[in-house]
Each structure stands twice: as C-alpha cells, then as structure tokens.
C-alpha cells in the first residue's frame, strides 16, 4: 500500500504544475518534497542555519511564537514534528516561506475593502527573485482557491476562512475579525506551500509574486463565469450517478467524511460555547474581588484577610484571561479550520464522483449506441486515465490529510489541556500562599484542621 502511495506521489509530483490530471505522467524525478511543518519557519524566525536538523530547531516555548507575528499557528509540539517527518519521503528543506500581515483598509467610491500584505521568500529557481511583496484582498484568495480546485479537482485544497461570519458580527471590519481572518489566510497559503503538488501550481506562483496590474490581467483569463456556471449544472447532474458506482474504498472515505463532518461541527459549537461561558464567568469574577475590598473598609481585624482574598481573586481572574486567550489561539482556529476542511472534503468527493460519472456515461453510451465506437473508445480511454489519476491523487492526498488532521487535533487538544493545567496550577499557588499567610499570622486556628 505504501509502495503504491509512493509511486502515485512520484507521479503527481511529476505532473507539470497547474496541469489538469489526465495527461500521462511527466518526468519521474521526484521533486524535492517539502516538510509540512513549521519548524523551518521557526528557523527563519530564530535566524538559524537552514541545514540544521529541524528537530533541534523546534522550540516548544510559546513565547517565541508570540514574539513574531509571522509564525503560523501550526502545531509545534515535538510529537507532531516527529509524526510529520515520518510521513514524508525525504526530509528536505523547506524553500518557500510565506507570511500574511499588515491588513490595510482601502476606501474607494464604490466600496471599502481590506488588503493583506504577503511576503514570500524563496530559493527556488523558477522564481525570478528571492523575495516578493504583494498586496491581496480576500477576493484574490478566493480566485486562487478556485483555480486550484479547477486544476486539481480531487486534491484536498486547504480551506479559506468564511466570507462572512453571520452571528455576532456587527461590522465586517471589526479588529478581532480581521486578525482571525489574517491568521487563517496565512495558514491557507502555508498549507498550499507545504502541499507536495499544489506548491508548484502556476497560479499560486503568480498569486505570490505578480504586482497589481499583472495580477488583475492574469485573473481575467481562464474560463469565464458563464462557463463555470454551466459546468456546475452538469456537475450536479452527474454527481448522482457517480455515487452509485463508487468503489469500496471511496465509500469508506465518504462515510468517514460524513461522520467526521458532523462531529467536528459539534466540537466547534461546543468549543465556541465554552469560550462564551468562560468570558461570562470572567466578567462576574471581576466584580467579585472588589466587593471584598469594599467590605474591608468597614472592618478592622478582618480588613487584611479580606484584602488578601480580593487579591487572590484578581490573580485568578488574570489566570482565567490567559487560559481564554490560549484557548482562542490554539484550539478554536484549528477546530474551525477542520470544519471548513470537512466541507472541502465533501466537495472533493463530489468532484471525484463527477469524473467517474463522466466515464460511466460514456461507457453506457458505448454499449447502447454503436455509432462512433472508435471515437467513444478513444474518449473512454482518456477518461479511464483521468479517473485513475483522480482516484490516486485523492487517495494519496487523503492519507496525507488524515495524518495532518490527527496531528493538528492532537496538539490542539493537548495544548488546551496544558492551558487548563497551567490555569489550575496558578490558582492553586495563589490560594495556597493565602492560606499560609493566614495561618502564619494566626496560629490558634490551624488550617490543617480543615484540610
């Protein structure tokens, strides 16, 4: 199984970047694989020698990540590093570094929109330079995604953050919203860069490098809106067909996707709810501490104890805030990305089914009509190749995706558990020191009686 995988991987690498599947495989020399890890991005951040073993470069210290807004919020636990490295053929060096930052608002007579700065650093030969800086807006990202889907209908394209977030959004350009979106866009581009096939896509390259005019003229090429609409109508008609003759392994895959999608959506909802409840808890706690200070004003003997309690509560509030921010940075975006991924997966499944259906309809045509058998047979031959390629591409990408998913989910939840442990440890220390201070001062009532 693994051997097959590898062979098909070599094949897909050999395909000309941006070409649609279906042509015979191109050159067999595997292009340098890329490691889907952020460790080498860390290398950039830490300014270390690129040749260094990426495991050494890794630093679990979260503060390093915070220091630099460039670092993507990808799993950085040692375990996930090891797992990711295992599944790549050759742990070669990453040669494409992308960051998304500096959102800027642009106002025109027709509309207001935000652009993001995209900085690309690369050592690849096919790039004209080693550094690029461009500005792109959300629409442009959408365009890129569509082009990638067109070129690789059965590869799992990374998801984009949503166009709008319906609930709780007052203003499209709220700061939190922009920041969340920026991080997601950053992740989006990096996931593409890490993908063994997509990273060499021509449109991707243009997206990263073309300046404004060149870019907009390039966008205008390619199938127009109408033809795209026409395609999707056909697609719907065909997709039903594809489902019937789906091979076993893809039935399993589909089943997984359906259940996964359900569960991840639930987890997303639960996680959002937890965040909300914690926020409300924090708000109440913030009021709770000061009451003790107020009380201490009318007391004499009790004043110190009351003030101590108030300060403990305040410290716990700060610990809660920290826990919440950890939660919203590590867990929520990851879970949400996989919610979007699950939608993506369903679309990929559909596209695969469509390709299969195309073949099936031609085969049916062959068996029913006797006319143009030669032409049909030739078409069928091409379609059979197309189907095989599509299936193999999906199979390989599926394994890769699953592995990534496991790692991402695992680290996100491990991280959440760590944040909680830290939170409780901090609160514990606070209250324990309060207790010792009280019993030091008043020896007659030992706390040991109570414990």
């Amino acid at each position: 199984m693994e051997g097959e995988c590898r062979a098909s991987q070599a094949r897909s690498w050999g395909l000309p970047a941006g070409g649609a599947g279906g042509d015979s495989p191109g050159g067999d020399a595997p292009l340098p694989g890329s490691i889907s890890s952020s460790s080498l991005l860390q290398a950039e951040v830490l300014d270390l020698d690129e040749d260094e073993d990426d495991l050494e470069v890794f630093s679990k210290d979260a503060s390093l990540m915070d220091m630099n807004s460039f670092s993507p919020l990808m799993p950085t636990s040692p375990l996930s590093m090891i797992n990711q490295v295992k599944f790549e053929d050759e742990p070669d060096l990453k040669d494409l570094f992308i960051t998304v930052d500096e959102p800027e608002s642009h106002v025109t007579t027709i509309e207001t929109f935000i652009t993001y700065r995209i900085i690309t650093k690369t050592s690849r030969g096919e790039f004209d330079s080693s550094e690029f800086e461009v500005r792109r807006r959300y629409q442009d990202f959408l365009w890129l995604k569509e082009k990638l889907e067109e070129a690789h209908p059965t590869l799992i394209i990374p998801p984009l953050p949503e166009k709008f977030i319906v609930k709780g959004m007052v203003e499209r350009f709220n700061d939190d919203f922009i920041e969340t979106r920026r991080k997601a866009l950053h992740k989006f581009l990096n996931r593409i860069a890490d993908h063994p096939t997509l990273t060499f896509n021509e449109d991707f390259k243009i997206f990263l490098t073309a300046q404004a005019l060149e870019f907009s003229s390039h966008k205008k090429q390619g199938p127009g809106l109408l033809s795209r609409m026409g395609q999707s109508v056909r697609a719907v008609a065909l997709s039903m067909r594809g489902v019937k003759s789906r091979p076993e392994e893809f039935m399993e895959m589909n089943n997984f996707i359906e259940i996964f999608s359900q569960k991840i959506n639930l987890i997303d909802k639960i996680s959002q709810r937890i965040y909300k409840e914690e926020r409300e808890y924090l708000d109440e706690m913030k009021e709770y501490g000061p009451i003790h200070i107020l009380w201490s004003a009318s007391e004499e003997d009790l004043a110190d104890t009351l003030k101590s309690v108030a300060s403990c509560i305040d410290k716990c509030c700060k610990a809660t805030e920290k826990r919440m921010s950890g939660f919203s940075e590590a867990l929520l975006p990851v879970v949400h990305e996989y919610v979007l991924y699950s939608e993506m997966l369903m679309a990929v499944m559909k596209r695969r089914d469509q390709i299969q259906a195309e073949l099936d309809s031609k085969v049916e045509a062959l068996t029913s009509k006797k006319a143009d058998t030669d032409l049909l047979t030739e078409e069928i031959g091409k379609l059979e190749d197309k189907v095989e390629c599509a299936n193999n591409a999906l199979k390989a990408d599926w394994e890769r995706w699953k592995q990534n998913m496991q790692n991402d989910i695992k680290s996100a939840f491990t991280n959440m558990a760590e944040e909680n442990i830290l939170y409780y440890e901090q609160c514990l220390a606070t209250w324990e020191s309060f207790l010792t201070s009280q019993t030091d001062l008043h020896l007659e009532e030992a706390s040991e009686d109570k414990l």
Binding site: L79, N255, F256, I259, F260, K263, L266, I267, I270, R273, I274, E277, E278, E280, Y281, E284, M285, E287, Y288, I291, H292, L294, W295, S298, E299, D301, L302, T305, L306, V309, C312, C316, Q406, I409, K410, F413, T414, A417, E418, N420, I421, Y423, Y424, E425, C427, L428, W431, E432, F434, L435, Q438, T439, H442, E445, S447, K450, L451
Partner: protein
C-alpha cells in the same frame, strides 16, 4: 471540641464551622440555674421529616419537622446518653427567637436560617420542600441552637430549656409569659429613632456598621451566586466533549482510544462541579448568618434609642411639670398652658383649687424624679450590658468570618487540585492519540 467551663461569665466561642459542616457534631454546654442540673449537654438537629397537618384555619398543609436530640455527657467516661428528643417545626424556632428578642433586648440574639431561599443561582431550587434546602436549613437550625446554648446568658433561659425538653404545651407556655405584649411596637421604635436627641455615640456607629455589613454581604452573596452559575456552565459544557469524542472515536483507528478515554475525563470534569458548588453553599450560609446578625445588631441599637428617647421624654415631661408648678406657685405665667387660657377666658380659679393643683403637681414631680432616676439607671445598665455582649459578638464575628474566608480558600484549593488531576489525565489521553 471545646470544653464547657464552670464560669458562666467567661466569653465562649462555639466552633461554628463544625456545626455547619458536620451534621452530628454537638457542642458541650452547661446550664446552671436553680432548677437545672449541672451537666454537660450536646444538642443536635439530627433529622428532618415532611409532615402534613391541619393549620389554624383547618386547611391541610405540608411542613417540615426537625428532630432535636439532647444528650448529656457524663464527666468521667465521656459517654453520652440521650436525654430528650422531640420534633419542632420552623415556626416554633421563630417563636423561641421572638421571645428571646423581647426578654433579652441587650443581647445580640443569634439569627435563624432564612425562611425562604434567597441568593439562589439557577440550579439551586428556591422551593422550601427541596431536600437540599431542607438539609441546609437543618444545619442552620442546629447552629442556631448551639449558638444560644453557648451564650453565657441565653443558655440559662427556662423557655429555651423547655424548648429542648418539653414537646407538648411548649407553645402555650411561651405565650403565657405574655412576651408579645411586652414587645415594643415597631411604630414606637421608629418614632424613637427619628426623635432621639442624644443616643450613645457607639450605638450610632454600630448602626452604621450593621447597615454597611448587611449591604456588603448581600452584594457579595448576589455576585457569588452569579459566579457559581457561570462556573457551572463552563464545567457542564465540557461534558459535551465527552459524548462527541466517544462518537467520533468510532470512525478513527489510531486516534480512537485516545479520544474515547479523553472523553471520559471530560465527563468526570463536568460532573465534578456539583460537589464543588455544594460545598460553596455552606460557605454562603456562613456569610448569610452574619447578614442576618446585622439585623440583630440593629435591634439592640433600636432598643437603646427607645430607652434613650423614653428617658429624654421623661426628663422633658418632668421639666415642664416643674415649670408649671413654679408658675402656679409664683403666679406668673411664662409658658402657654391650657389652664392659663381657660383661666383668662373663664376667670381665675380659687386659691383652694390652685393649692390642690400645686400639690398634685408636686406629687407628680416626685414620682417623675423617681422614675427618671430609675430610667437613667436602667439606661446605663442597658448600655453596659449591651456593650459587653457586643464586644463578645465582635470577637465571635471576626473569628468566624476569618474561618469562613479560610475555608473558602481551602475549597478553591481542592477545586484546583481536582482540575489539575482531570486535565493531566486528559492530556495524557490526548497525547496518546
């Protein structure tokens, strides 16, 4: 447990946390009086039972009865023997307390637990029949009895003794004391509060303090209830992870076990909040006791104001009578009087009449002076006794509230430790996925 001392004057602190958290703890107390035998007794409110009966209007009602058990402890072997056991309902406790308020106005009378559940957060039932509420009330009633029993003065009261020992007829006995008639009317008290000119400064301060205490503790309890509500929410939502992880684990091969067991820990986490918050209710009850004590403090202040006002009125009355007398004697009318007016209108009175009046006034003045003297004495004695009890109360309050705050910290520590354990276990499961 603290030992009873033979000296009733000694200020005695009960251990209030024990009664509130250990239902069967008693307190040794000594009752010395002419009829009462000198022995150590333990009091506990050990059970609560739902009963139905007929009320005063012959309508059926449901109420809760509480079993009060009194045990005497033999000096030598420390064995306790059940001496009395009877059932009382909340209204009888109220009757006892009202009686004590009337007969001991200079004492800060311990408060009863709340009649209706207040400061509830959503989970806690506000229903008086709810078993949790009944249980907490049982503990509160026991605490009340223990406080009375350990008070150097209140513990000697006969009605209190009978409350513990005489089941039948107790209500009649209390009513026969006629204490309701002796009670100061609220209106009178209110009037005095407004009009008193020279109350003891310490009582004014005490009144302010009790107002502040009441206000701040109410506020604290309200916010605490809201915090509890939110905390409950946070914990319980995590429980949902448990269910979803479990369902998800069915489709995963490598991740499945880790997910499943992590889910189990999420369930543990979610259910741990119930015990945590139940403990916190006991803490809230300790604060509530002092919330209600604030009212008891105010009652003592009111009594002082009433007595002081009474004294001031008596002095004023005496002064005016003296004035009248003087005027009659000297024949000068300096102040307005009805007699003066009528005299002017209807003619002078005879010398005999005048003499009679002067004599009457002189007698009244004599009486008035006696009364003023005794009122003065009473007033000063009241202030002295009340202030002694207030000092005792202050010490008790500082001790108890500090204990309560420490116990709050202990609860938080326990909660944190549980949290660390659960999340450490969960983290292990996650890392094995």
């Amino acid at each position: 447990m603290e030992q009873a001392t033979p000296d009733p004057e000694r200020l005695w602190q009960p251990a209030p946390l024990e009664p509130l958290s250990h239902p069967d703890a008693g307190l040794e107390s000594m009752m010395t009086e002419n009829n009462f035998s000198l022995k150590k007794i333990e009091i506990s409110v050990s059970e609560a039972e739902k009963r139905t009966g007929r009320n005063a209007m012959n309508m059926q009602e449901t109420y809760t009865a509480y079993l009060i058990e009194t045990r005497s402890v033999e000096h030598n072997d420390g064995q306790s023997v059940l001496t009395d056991s009877l059932w009382r309902r909340y209204s009888e406790f109220e009757l006892l307390r009202n009686y004590l308020l009337v007969y001991y106005p200079h004492i800060v009378v311990p408060p009863l637990p709340e009649k209706r559940a207040e400061f509830v957060w959503h989970k806690l039932s506000a229903d008086n029949m709810d078993p949790d509420f009944v249980e907490r009330r049982r503990i509160g009633l026991e605490n009340f009895l223990l406080r009375v029993a350990s008070h150097p003065i209140l513990c000697r009261d006969k009605i209190f003794y009978l409350f513990l020992t005489q089941e039948g007829n107790w209500k009649e006995t209390v009513n026969e004391t006629g204490f309701q008639l002796k009670a100061d009317s609220r209106l009178k008290a209110l009037n005095a509060t407004f009009r008193v000119k020279n109350p003891d400064k310490r009582f004014i301060e005490l009144k302010h303090y009790s107002d502040e205490l009441q206000s701040v503790i109410s506020h604290l309890l309200r916010v605490r209830a809201r915090v509890a509500d939110r905390l409950y929410g946070v914990y319980k939502v995590h429980g949902n992870y448990g269910r979803v992880f479990s369902e998800w684990s069915a489709i995963e091969k490598e991740m499945g076990d880790g997910l499943q067991s992590a889910g189990h820990h999420m369930d543990v986490y979610a259910s741990s909040i119930d015990d945590i918050l139940e403990d916190e209710e006991h803490y809230a009850d300790q604060l509530k006791e002092y919330l209600f004590y604030a009212e008891a403090l105010r009652a003592v202040c009111r009594k002082h104001e009433l007595m002081q006002y009474d004294l001031e009125m008596a002095a004023q009355d005496l002064a005016s009578k003296k004035q009248q007398c003087e005027e009659l004697a000297t024949g000068t009318v300096r102040t307005f009087s009805l007699k003066g007016m009528t005299t002017k209108l209807f003619g002078q009175e005879t010398p005999e009449q005048r003499e009679a009046r002067i004599k009457m006034l002189e007698e009244q003045i004599k009486e008035g002076e006696q009364q003023l003297k005794s009122k003065n004495l009473e007033g000063r004695e009241f202030v002295r006794n009340a202030w002694a009890d207030i000092e005792r109360f202050k010490e008790q309050k500082n001790h108890d509230l500090k204990e309560a705050l420490i116990s709050y910290a202990v609860m938080q520590i326990s909660m944190c430790k549980k949290g660390i354990q659960v999340w450490t276990n969960a983290k292990e499961c996650f890392s094995k996925m």
